[in-house]
């Protein structure tokens, strides 16, 4: 695999447009620096999600990281760096609520 010469980041334009779209009805703007910081947060989010999923795959002795590994680490991901309330969690995650509840219960033990 070729070595990258530049760092992979979320483009400022993409993040800016996305945030503007979410804020559309509120007429709120986002400063240039805030967009850069947001892009950074999203990058960290992806990196954490990816690395945790990879570790999960390793724990299961799998050669390829797949969606099941990712789904398993989601509750941990949110509980660590990206803490949000459980109601928001269930609203936004692509996994069924039952699974999340079970995972969260397992974490509490």
């Amino acid at each position: 695999m070729e070595e990258r010469t530049t760092e992979v980041v979320f483009k400022k334009e993409t993040v800016g447009k996305l945030l503007s779209l979410f804020f559309k009805d509120e007429k709120t703007k986002v400063s240039g620096d805030a967009v850069i910081l947001m892009a950074e947060m999203l990058k960290i989010f992806v990196e954490e999600a990816a690395r945790r999923s990879q570790k999960q795959a390793a724990a299961e002795d799998c050669d390829v990281v797949d969606i099941e590994h990712f789904e398993k680490i989601l509750p941990q991901l949110y509980n660590s760096n990206f803490k949000i309330s459980s109601t928001l969690l269930s609203h936004f995650l692509p996994v069924p609520n039952i699974q999340i509840a079970a995972d969260l219960n397992a974490l509490k033990k």
Binding site: M1, R4, V8, V9, F10, K11, T14, V15, K17, L18, L19, L21, F22, F23, K24, E26, K27, T28, K29, V30, S31, D33, A34, I36, L37, M38, E40, M41, L42, K43, I44, F45, V46, E47, A49, A50, R51, S53, Q54, A57, A58, C62, D63, V64, V65, D66, I67, H69, F70, E71, L74, S80, N81, F82, K83, I84, L88, F92, L93, P94
Partner: protein, 123 residues
Amino acid sequence: MDEDFSLHQRLKAALHFTVGRLCEDIGGDGGKRFNKEVLAAIAETTYRQCGLFHSHLRHAKRTTVNSEDVKLVARRSTALYNHITRRSEELASTNQEQKERRKKNTGKRKSEDEETSVKRNKM
């Protein structure tokens, strides 16, 4: 409404592209690659995370969201907060440097203009 939908789709695709590249690097690092399905799932979740960030940011009372507001969102985790604060300080000092450079150049230009006008007067 349809316009918004297709714009969301295009931006999602842009996110997906970067997610793919980030995971490609991590795949190489950790010796385990990510399949297409999981990349799509991570990209989708990242898009939703953006929505989550938005729902936190909208509580800023001003019309323009700034760095301080983003730092507040990050404060839920010490490590993340420290990282983002450092990055924010880097940006602030870069901005400061740029401002000072611009001032210097404006100052230079002003004195050059003065020289030119003095020369013209002499002629």
